[in-house]
Amino acid sequence: MDKEYFLTKVLSYWSSLIRKVVFCVLRVGPIPTHIAVIMDGNRRYAKRKLLEEGAGHDAGAMALLNLIIYCYELGVKYITAYAFAIDNFRRKPSEVQKIMDLLKECMTVLAKIAKHHPIKVNFAGNLELLNAELRDEARKLMGATAEYSKFVVTICVCYCCTDDIVHSVEESCREKHYYHSYIGDSHDDDKDDDDKDDERHMIKLVDIEKNMYMAVTPDPDILIRTGDEHRLSNFLQWQTCHSLLASLSTDWPEIGVWHLVKV
């Protein structure tokens, strides 16, 4: 037992050292500022490894936490993960509950990491769809880490891009309505001012983009999807106009340093 523990410690030390050397080499060249990931393949991984239902998601959560650490060491500034889509509520209630429980555990781990490293944590999505306890935990963690900016982790929960667009259009309408009702009426009747008012009443692209859930981060440089799938599944198709879309054949829990290096 002691011998096994010792060997594990030695292996872990050496793999950590090799990883740091590799990251030193990679930092010589350009490093992406923002990496987004679609964590696909947890259930297939569990099926392949003959694990019980839900164990794939445990392994997936572990892989996400490892990736956050790798990105932090590599010097990536933003990492965004698609943890739970609105469409995922159609899964079995037991699976949905398992994912929610995992989310809570991840929040606890991230809160502990944030005490020692300046990591900002955001939760992007329609948080009103979460239960009150999770929603409060998420808001508490966001509040506690709001002042950090060196490394930003965004977890997309109850998110889908079309819902994000509708939400931002709603917010833009509310803003313009407020302006129209309370501020617009106090302007002069001069024709030139009327034209300017008309422009101010119009919703512009910049209004929509600033009201999106994902307005907290810049557009991703790379979007990685695992599980050998080649679609966006309603994730960041607005923000990935100029992003490299990378598809990895490996399942999400098996993602490692070398996949990151290859991408």
Binding site: C24, V25, L26, V28, G29, A85, I86, D87, N88, R90, R91, E128, C160, C161, T162, D163, I165, V166, V169, E170, S172, C173, R174, K176, H177, Y178, H180, M202, I203, K204, L205, I208, E229, H230, R231, L232, S233, N234, Q237, W238, T240, C241, H242, S243, L244, L245, A246, S247, V261, K262
Partner: protein, 283 residues
């Protein structure tokens, strides 16, 4: 006594001066060693980075050679599994082309290949709108297609229907649709200013997009609206270049390389891979 004290203090001061210079020389030497050491480490890191870069390039080069060979075999019909394509599964195909790469001769050849395979509905997209400006020329040169009109019946069309799109049909269209909804919101006299209240739905957004004339294909294509099933990217990188976000929620995206080196075999392989995909739509 005094001379002894003086000589010992002189020796002490000389010792101090000497040790000062030795220290200075040593720290300069250390600094030089550090700088030299840093330079050596930097050079080693750069060499290793370039070596890694070359290794990965060689791997991708080998993969590209293998893909080109496979594509050649598919074109010749030598690979059995690509002989029968279930083309009916591909109801709507989108093609994204890098604007700098937009050669109409290549585009027409690609459309001919798609027509031969039996693809009925195609959307051609490039960011700058070059294809949109050349649509009359393309339709003139390519006999097998018509421009899609909004109220056309799409099923069992003898000719391919072509749609042309650009960046202005994406984000800017959503801004226009937002203004349509805003006008309806103002007219309805709704005073909901509570953050939690939902005032629009996704279907209302979809209808607004149709109103601004940018969602041509409707539920006639199978219930999900004008969303391409497959999007082929012809360009240097796998990137959708701003294709309307509302329409590529569940679209399979395949990268085909630059348009000038397009291959018939690669096209068949991409369509074949699409027909083998199973989607859960989040379930």
């Amino acid at each position: 006594m005094k001379s002894q004290k003086w000589s010992s203090s002189k020796m002490e001061s000389e010792r101090r001066v000497l040790s000062f210079f030795i220290f200075k020389w040593a720290s300069c030497y250390d600094a030089l060693l550090l700088m030299g050491g840093d330079m050596i480490v930097n050079i080693l890191l750069r060499l290793t980075w370039h070596l890694l870069h070359v290794t990965i390039h060689l791997c991708y080069f080998a993969i590209n050679i293998a893909n080109a060979l496979e594509s050649h075999l598919i074109s010749k019909g030598l690979l059995r599994r690509y002989k029968s394509l279930h083309i009916s599964k591909l109801q709507y195909l989108a093609i994204v082309i890098e604007s700098e790469d937009c050669r109409t001769s290549n585009v027409i050849e690609l459309l001919q290949w798609l027509a031969d395979l039996g693809v009925k509905h195609v959307c051609l997209y490039d960011k700058e709108g070059i294809l949109k400006k050349s649509k009359d020329f393309i339709l003139e040169k390519f006999d097998g297609a018509t421009l899609f009109q909004e109220n056309d019946v799409l099923l069992d069309q003898p000719l391919m229907t072509l749609e042309f799109a650009s960046f202005s049909d994406g984000k800017e269209a959503v801004a226009k649709a937002a203004n349509v909804l805003f006008m309806k919101y103002l007219k309805s006299g709704s005073t909901s200013s509570c953050q939690g209240d939902q005032i629009f739905t996704e279907s209302q957004m979809g209808e607004a997009l149709k109103t601004v004339g940018l969602c041509y294909l409707s539920d006639l294509l199978g219930g999900n609206g004008p969303e391409p099933d497959l999007l082929l990217v012809y360009g240097p990188a796998r990137c959708h270049l701003g294709f309307p976000a509302w329409r590529i929620r569940y679209t399979e995206i395949q990268h085909m390389g630059p348009l000038k080196s397009m291959k018939y075999g690669s096209l068949i392989k991409a369509i074949y891979k699409f027909t083998m995909v199973q989607q859960n739509y989040g379930k």
